[in-house]
Amino acid sequence: MKLYETVIGLEVHVELATKSKIFCSCSTEFGGEPNSHCCPICIGLPGTLPVLNKKVVEYAIAAGLALNCSITQKCKFDRKNYFYPDLPKAYQVSQLYLPLCRNGYIEIETEAGKKRIGIHEIHIEEDAGKLIHDAFEDGSLIDYNRCGIPLIEIVSEPDMRSPQEVIAYLEKLKMILQYLGVSDCKMQEGSLRADINLSVRELGSNQLGVRTEMKNMNSFKAIARAIEGESKRQIELLEANKAVIQETRRWDDKLNTSISMRSKEDAKDYRYFPDPDLPPMEISQEWIDQIKGRQPELRDEKVERYQRDYGIPAYDASIITGIKKLAELFEETVEICGKAKEVSNWIIVELMRLLREEEMEAEDICFAPVNLAKLIQLIEEGKINRTVAKEVFEHIFKENVNPEEYVEQHDLSLVSDDGLLRSVIEKIILENPKSLEDYRNGKDKVIGYLVGQTMKEMKGKADPSMVKDIIYDLLNP
């Protein structure tokens, strides 16, 4: 078999975090009652006129600047025409000819090292409504709440070669956009959606192969699997001397394969033309400079500040700042309880473990920082030990419990009653006469065994160092 290389470019749609829609003053809130955030403009009634939300332009410029793009100062909107009921106007306002941002890049890091991924362009668009297909037999239902929510589409150059690079690119993109505050980038709620353009070619060739496009990717893991699966499919076709057809395919994560979407031959004929309802934009250098001046603290600055002001190691700082939500959680918790290193440990070890186990995104964390702060306080005060604390933390993570109340209700406080502990340990020593003998013969290891037995008997509610002291005391009368 020949050696192949996979060539990947991404189109990432990001919903902007404005309060109102792009061309009307309806709310962009997620999860509202169906068709409750609608008006004559966003449901496309005749006779209405769109007025552009200034914040959309500012957010898009902020994103462009952070991704090292040049800003197209004379810029306009175009109509992309197609009939589909999620789009009540029968066209989507987009930017084909003069996208707002062009020629940028971001730097990613994988095990293979650092690499620059080019950004071809970023343009502004409006989102479409949501179709519900399975609700009833004879038709589909439409909720237009999402219709007219502002989007930016970030189009990369075909610079990626592996799933690892694609994930690194998406993670970096997500982090930058979240820090800028231009989007919450929640994949589960569809505020970040990636389309993958993928082709394969013989290693060493500088000609691009025929590409396919996969839509509807809703998690990083699915994206990685889709890239593996689709590369394999295309390589198998080429190996069998068959051609790859340029088409849109849908990745089916359950079947672990991509499926051709029935697409009409004319589907690409969108007949773009300048939107006559939207006057062009002329973006002044002052406006760009103003936005540049307002860019918030990005990751690199945070990493430095965390080491300087909180005294945590560079490693901790880089992990925590990798996700905006974790950085916020860290800062808020430290604000309450001090103990920066302790907070950092809980985030990096236990919190990250639970996120992995539950396959959750950090953005979905819903517990209050004050509860983590209280937990750390309980350990500091010697009210609970670390084993119990881990158990309580799981409940904080899952149910946002107040650890003080939880410990109280479940009777998890450490037993610090010397007399009680002493009687338990005496009983254990009596039940294990061999251990006493071993100890007298100089086998110190037996202490560890006895501590373990005691902790078991106490259901973890004892301080191991206190237990150890008592055991020594009893064994050396």
Binding site: P34, N35, Y84, H133
Partner: protein, 95 residues
């Protein structure tokens, strides 16, 4: 560009229009006329002319990012040809 019946057919299909033969003939004629006009413009030297993107002398028309004036659902759904529950209803559409 030669306008053929095929092109008329394709444009009609993309626009979801059903045309009679008589209408097609008429459109064929007006397409020719229109494209001839465009050809005249193509023949002109427009090297130093900035493309016009909008007919009115307007630019930078913005609104502030404020939520107001949502329409109640009853009114939103009032003109829907079909509705079901709280939704617009359309014939089954699968991409």
């Amino acid at each position: 560009m030669e306008i053929t019946e095929e092109i008329i057919h394709k444009v009609a299909e993309l626009s979801k229009l059903r045309l009679t033969d008589k209408e097609k003939d008429k459109l064929l004629e007006s397409f020719h006329g229109f494209l001839n006009y465009v050809q005249t413009m193509n023949d002109l030297d427009t090297k130093d002319v900035e493309p016009m993107t909008h007919v009115l002398p307007l630019k930078n028309v913005f609104r502030e990012d404020r939520v107001c004036q949502e329409t109640d659902r009853e009114s939103v759904l009032k003109n829907a040809p079909e509705k079901k529950d709280r939704y617009f209803a359309v014939p089954k559409t699968v991409e």
